[in-house]
């Protein structure tokens, strides 16, 4: 039950945590934020001229910086493969602190942009997540070919400089991260410089709501959203994900109750003759019910504690499994409130079920069971 609930809560909360982890205060988009129907998980890039817009937003009072982020479908292959695989190419102007690197190095700026002339030196560096590394069977230092088309990919030889789970976890799909200008270049979009959104970090003393209102007034053609609003906007389109997460939580609670009742029912049914003998020997209904409740309570507590103790190992195992299968790290969550809730269900439902079973046994004539 704790694992099922942990998965459900994980599905519901992981997106939010990733948005929080992105450490941005505001998000600017050019309308709806949804998965492109043709892509392998990329967002629509409808915020054009993103570099200039970002630069203008950065000048706004209270804004520390504004960074465009683009997600595009890209084709990737390696030296020893003929086929291409589709991934989400993530473009970021230089990596930044919000891109976590767990192996190798981070991206080193975005020199190719060169102030908009696109004639700087290309780094040809990419970061990939663990799932991408597994899919392509590459590691740090290996060469990959990336492009918005097969032809473009063949011409863009890049080097894996690090492993980063950041965007893979945020999007729930394998990613290839590179400097924004190089993503625009390999996808042929340097002219329009599209971005999925612009992330805005505020000064420490800035009032988020005030800045949001001012930016919204200044850029009425764009949507300025807080972290939560942005998450809601993304998830609005992901009803299935929400439904799945919610269903898992409901299923966990339902299953926990059903299993507890079932287990207790079986245990008490097995002992119906023992209780019948006690009744035959003059034990009153109330003591009989108390004895059964005692058993229910003991089973509930033992089951609950055992579940709580075993949950971390189960969570770790399931997370390894989900990471291996879908590349999504830390999906199943271990939360004290889930374990607490599970123990409470085991104890409360165990006690109630035992009380009902005890009451039923106490009402049955003893010889009926003997």
């Amino acid at each position: 039950m704790t694992l099922l609930a942990g998965t459900g809560v994980g599905v519901l909360e992981t997106g939010g945590q990733q948005f929080d982890a992105a450490d941005r205060d505001l998000w600017m988009t050019a309308g709806e934020t949804r998965l492109t129907p043709t892509g392998g998980g990329g967002f629509e890039n409808t915020l054009y001229d993103s570099r200039n817009v970002s630069a203008a937003v950065s000048q706004q009072e209270g804004v520390r910086n504004a960074v465009p982020l683009a997600f595009e479908t890209v084709y990737v292959t390696t030296e020893d493969r003929d086929e291409f695989q589709t991934f989400v190419g993530s473009g970021t102007p230089g990596g930044g602190s919000s891109v976590q690197v767990i192996e190798g190095e981070s991206l080193d700026g975005d020199p190719y942009y060169a102030g908009g002339t696109y004639d700087g030196e290309r780094t040809n560096d990419v970061l990939i997540d663990q799932e991408t590394a597994r899919s392509l069977d590459v590691e740090v230092g290996d060469t990959v070919y990336v492009g918005g088309s097969h032809a473009a990919a063949r011409e863009n030889e890049m080097t894996v400089v690090g492993i980063s789970p950041t965007f893979g976890q945020m999007l729930g799909t394998p990613t290839v991260v590179m400097p924004l200008s190089e993503l625009h270049q390999v996808t042929g979009s340097t002219q329009t410089e599209p971005a999925t959104f612009i992330t805005i970090t505020l000064e420490d003393d800035a009032d988020s709501e005030v800045v949001q209102r001012e930016l919204q007034a200044q850029y009425p053609e764009y949507e300025i959203r807080s972290n939560q609003e942005q998450l809601d906007a993304v998830l609005e389109e992901q009803v299935l994900v929400l439904a799945a997460g919610f269903t898992l939580v409901v299923l966990a609670v339902g299953t926990g109750i059903a299993l507890t009742v079932n287990l207790l029912g079986l245990i008490i049914y097995q002992q119906r003759q023992a209780f019948a003998v006690l009744k035959a020997q003059g034990i009153s209904s109330s003591l009989l019910i108390l004895t059964v409740i005692g058993q229910g309570l003991a089973i509930g507590v033992i089951g609950g504690v055992l579940g709580g103790v075993l949950t971390p190992a189960g969570v770790a195992l399931l997370n390894r499994l989900t990471t291996a299968v879908v590349g999504f790290d830390g999906l199943v969550q271990f939360e004290p409130r889930i374990v607490g809730g599970s123990v409470a269900i085991a104890v409360v439902i165990g006690t109630i079920a035992a009380a009902i079973a005890g009451w039923r046994i106490s009402r049955t004539p003893p010889l009926e069971h003997l």
Partner: protein
């Protein structure tokens, strides 16, 4: 409460007496009001015990014998107040217990009658001592006194070293001895046992019978069995057939 070894055959009033007792069981449920309107017939009935009269004196060991279906278990249940007769009366210590409420009969069994069944049916989750002590909880005996009394009873049946063992950790014979200790822990005046050795091998059965012999020196015992060895400990054997007493006499 227990009566110490009296001369049971002569002057004392009977501890339990069944007079013209008949017990009829109905097979299945009745047709109900609407069923009767629709012409459904009453379910068949079985007369398990038919016009039986039996008197048991204090300190006596009585064996109820007979083949399966002869009515010995039903008669035992009637004598122990587990069933009420359809006709006739059962008097325990000269009081008709058929007129008692269910609650009062339950209390009577707790205080005056110890019951041992063929199957031991101990509560699995409780230790041997806790199983034995349960009737004392019902009687409101304090925890310390309960433990002492239960320990004493288990000592008497040779299980002083098995106090903390759960039923699953005990052999069949040991479990039956725990059941005997549980039946005796309230110091009942009457002990009834229904095929007490039926689930046991010969050797263990003999040990249990030895236990009953010890019990019988202090109180009245009624045993129902079709086993000759078991009945051999009885002072008097009452033989039943088709729900009626066909013979009774000394061992």
């Amino acid at each position: 409460m227990a009566i110490p070894a009296p001369d049971h055959r002569t002057t004392h009033p009977p501890i339990v007496a069944a007079t013209n007792v008949t017990k009829v069981y109905t097979r299945g449920s009745g047709p109900g009001r609407f069923g009767r309107l629709l012409g459904r017939s009453e379910p068949p009935t079985v007369e398990a015990v038919s016009d039986v009269s039996l008197t048991i004196q204090p300190g006596e060991i009585v064996g109820l014998a007979g083949p399966s279906g002869s009515g010995k278990s039903t008669l035992l249940h009637l004598l122990a107040g587990l069933e009420v007769p359809t006709e006739g009366s059962v008097q325990f210590q000269q009081t008709d217990i058929a007129s008692y409420s269910t609650r009062r009969r339950t209390r009577l069994r707790l205080e005056e009658i110890g019951i041992v069944f063929q199957r031991f049916h101990l509560v699995d989750s409780l230790s041997a001592r806790a199983n034995v002590a349960l009737p004392l909880v019902e009687l409101g005996v304090g925890r310390r006194k309960r433990r002492e009394r239960a320990t004493e009873m288990l000592d008497r049946v040779g299980l002083g070293d098995r106090l903390g063992h759960k039923p699953g950790e005990l052999s069949g014979g040991e479990q039956q001895r725990v059941a005997i200790a549980r039946a005796l822990v309230t110091d009942p005046a009457l002990v009834v046992a229904d095929e007490p050795t039926g689930e046991l091998d010969t050797e263990t059965g003999e040990q249990i019978l030895a236990e009953f012999r010890r019990v019988a020196t202090e109180r009245t015992v009624v045993l129902a069995s079709h086993d000759r060895e078991t009945l051999a400990i009885a002072d008097r054997i009452v033989r039943l057939h088709d729900g009626t007493i066909v013979e009774q006499g000394d061992e």
